[in-house]
Amino acid sequence: MTWDQQRIEDIITASAPEEITYLEAIRAALREEMQRDPSVLLLGQDIGVYGGAFKVTQGLIEEFGEKRVIDTPMAELGMIGAAIGMAFMGLRPVIEMQFADFISVGFDSIVNYAATNHYRWGAAVPIVIRAPNGGGLRGGPFHSQSPEAWFTHTPGLKVVMPANPVDAYGLLLSAIRDPNPVIYFENKLLYRSMRAPVVLGAQGIIPIGKAALARVGEELSIITYGSMVRESLIAAEQLAADGRSIEVLDLRTLKPLDKEAVLETARKTGKVLIVHEAQITSGFGGEVAALIAEHAFEYLDGPITRIAAPDTPVPYSPPLEDAYRPDTAKILKAARELLAY
């Protein structure tokens, strides 16, 4: 397919967007970028013939060949280092971590090389690291993590965390086109459980650094991202049935954070509930709370409240994981308390 044909197809698709899953949206974004830009290539374990542990890259090796969909040995630190070298030579590698949990093994290449390089000697590092994160699937302590806060603390990285198929698609386009290293957290629970009509092609792009109001409300702001947006929206819906008006801000990008949007919703409602799937202590919610407590202090009508996982590894057994995991019920409870404050 030529570039022009693709554009035409896009426009057709755009006019009547298809319902696709979150996972399909990611795959579609990879395809879109690989078709558009021959320098885009994929690296990861089992992403070729097997199509990846979650089948996100299924069909791509057939379409783009072994030189652009590269099955790697197990060597995360080396793989990310290699991706940086490829990026210096003009390629745009998109890495799949088999699970976000394994990013700890490749950690140094990310936080010390990829993140600092442009600042130090001006060479950009356009790489994307796709990290399937999150629990609720009985994956246990090492297949359920949400380690975004390690990366939001690291200058030079960008961190995105889409909450729906539209953003999954559009943010991946942006991430691949971005000249900086981007950690793209994709939520495993949403992979197949969430569908939406997605405008494909360039029109579907979502800018990095812009939050989205997922629901407009007046009395309380839920500020959240990733898998917890859906839970929060359900909670807001239920509260609406009780006649309460809840705003839900989906951060979409954690770094650079859309501070304006955060402060605006906080100032508007005066009550803030921050929700994330990761453990609470030193989680990204702390940063959001701190910003509000400093810059929207005068507007606050109640304590800034956080709902997040407790400070334990993600447990495996269903009753434990359910107790561990933030969800609509826990959000509802906290929101009601805050509304009553």
């Binding site: 949990d101 009985r138 400070d311 057994s317 107790a323």
Partner: protein
């Protein structure tokens, strides 16, 4: 090659059967959605974990991995505890905190639990062996790693560390032709992972991982060397992963012929034929072992299914010692 007593041979047979029957049952329970999350099959690997674990002494320690069920059993982790673990029950080894054989450790049995990050257990093992060396204790630490894990940096750091400090450790590479879907040809440009041992200054050996006698003999020799201050050994067991990487994987990527070839060399059938040939067992004897193992597994399932799940109120317990 060490001469194995008939008792030991029959023990090995029992453990291999138990391993296989337990594993088949786990697969079934997973299909019945009684086990949540992922599950790794042991099929084809029974000779390795059984042969290796039998070669250790009671004070030695072991860090089994995801295809080493036999080692857990031999070291005294009961089918009941293990089944409760698979079913996520409070009575499971990790009390429901970790899944399948992950986190199945028990220091009183000399077993280290593993994490998913491969091959983290190699680091733990070399440290335990180092402790033995520092204290002059005649103990050995043993662990396993896959062909896939051999590409990880940690594998290198640990093998070198073991050699530098001449610690009493035995490293067993289970080369089962694949790391998930990735064939050896995409992982390395050498014929034998054991050949890397020379690059550390330690002995390396390639053996038939489907022959429990070969495994036992090689490990026993390495263990004896380690115990006598002879330092570490790397043993590569050639084998084949006979099911998918994990239960959801139909391994469409594996050529049929390869599976067929290795099916001819099933470690259990091979061993049973040998035992029969040696007059150590007959069909009735095999059936008796099968029946005994099946009964144990049945008992374990009954027990585990009756066990309560962990109490959510205990969620925060044990993060710190």
């Amino acid at each position: 090659m060490a001469l194995l007593s008939p008792e030991l041979l029959l023990q090995a047979h029992y453990w291999m059967r138990l391993t296989r029957i337990f594993d088949d049952r786990v697969m079934l329970l997973h299909r019945q959605t009684k086990i949540a999350g992922g599950c790794f099959s042991q099929l084809g690997h029974e000779a390795i974990s059984v042969g290796a674990a039998l070669a250790l002494g009671p004070d030695d320690v072991i860090a089994p991995m995801h295809r080493d069920l036999g080692a857990y059993l031999i070291r005294g982790m009961t089918p009941r505890r293990l089944m409760a673990q698979y079913l996520g029950r409070a009575a499971g080894v990790s009390g429901g905190r970790d899944g399948n054989t992950h986190g199945c450790g028990d220091l009183s049995l000399g077993i280290f639990g593993y994490v998913s990050m491969l091959p983290a257990s190699m680091g733990i093992t070399v440290g335990a062996a180092h402790a033995f060396k520092l204290r002059g204790e005649p103990r050995v630490a043993l662990t396993f790693f896959g062909d896939g894990s051999s590409s990880e940096g940690l594998c290198h750091e640990v093998l070198n560390w073991a050699a530098v400090y001449e610690v009493p450790a035995v490293f067993i590479c289970e080369n089962n032709q694949y790391a998930y879907s990735t064939p050896l040809s995409h992982q390395m440009r050498i014929a034998n992972i054991a050949d890397r041992a020379a690059g550390y200054g330690m002995p390396g050996e390639v053996i038939d991982g489907n022959d429990v006698i070969a495994v036992y003999s090689a490990v026993q020799e390495a263990v004896a060397r380690a115990r006598n201050n002879g330092g570490p050994t790397l043993i590569e067991c050639k084998t084949m992963r006979m099911r998918g990487h994990a239960i959801h994987d139909n391994m469409a990527y594996v050529p049929k012929e390869l599976i067929n070839k290795w099916q001819q060399r099933d470690p259990l059938q091979h061993f049973e034929a040998y035992l029969t040939e040696q007059g150590l067992i007959n069909d009735a004897g095999i059936q008796a072992v099968v029946a005994r193992a099946e009964a144990e597994v049945e008992d374990a399932v009954t027990y585990a299914e009756a066990c309560p799940y962990p109490d959510p109120a205990t969620l925060m317990v044990g993060v710190y010692a």
